[in-house]
Subunit: 142 residues, 2 copies
């Protein structure tokens, strides 16, 4: 049947066993039992892991992702939350685009030094004023 050893889940998901155990511990996935001491997973766990990977790619933390599953394990994707995340991604994309353009500009800017380039200086202003934030957002304690 579709009872998978952790090794098989590893293969199918590409995640190391340690990560799978960690996810289980966090309640992100569940094994359907044990054979001896070994966890057995339902084949459906692979899809769930894909869902988790997607959440991560979208910038959700594991804790946030955990909240996206109902008690019965079915995904519970609140449409408002999705819309909010889409907007957030949109914003981030805008910022990155500015950065990309500016960096590309700097890469072949004719000004002798970057500091003399008006475009570069404008960008600097933006970054300094916090209009553009680090990839990994600054939050207390991190």
């Amino acid at each position: 049947m579709s009872e998978l050893d952790i090794g098989e889940v590893m293969k199918r998901s590409g995640l190391p066993a340690s990560a799978l155990r960690f996810y289980e511990q966090k309640g992100l996935i569940a094994s359907i039992g044990r054979r001896g001491q070994r966890r057995q997973f339902d084949a459906a766990v692979v899809e769930r892991l894909a869902l988790i990977a997607m959440g991560r790619a979208a910038g959700f933390s594991l804790d946030e992702i955990a909240l996206m599953f109902a008690a019965d394990g079915s995904p519970r994707l609140d449409r408002d939350m999705l819309a909010a995340k889409a907007a957030e991604l949109d914003e981030r994309i805008r910022e990155l685009t500015v950065m990309r353009d500016a960096i590309a500009h700097a890469a072949d800017c004719p000004a002798p030094t970057h500091m003399e380039c008006p475009t570069f200086r404008r960008l600097l202003q933006a970054a300094a004023s916090g209009a553009i934030r680090p990839a990994r957002p600054r939050r207390p304690g991190v």
Copy 2:
């Protein structure tokens, strides 16, 4: 003259004093001396901090940023490196755009559950296959 107390640099850069001391320790900025026990910074440090902020926004680590300053403290932005970073950002923007579109779609998808939506399932595939990576890239030890 333009000798600034750390408190003044805080105000002008928006960074907490602890971060400024940390940056100094890392060699990202330097004080021009002490008045009593207090660091004095040249006003130019503010511009340098802006440069650092920009680097962070572009996704560089502090260590990488440190390499971008010549021994004399002037920025040494290798144009090849910039071009590479621009390309990298481009790639990331592409990925995020896919995510954003997919999430926006999911937010008002007519399918009864997300798992039944073909668009959603395609996205899931992408995420699972690693075509789309977490915002904070997975690297060993992190």
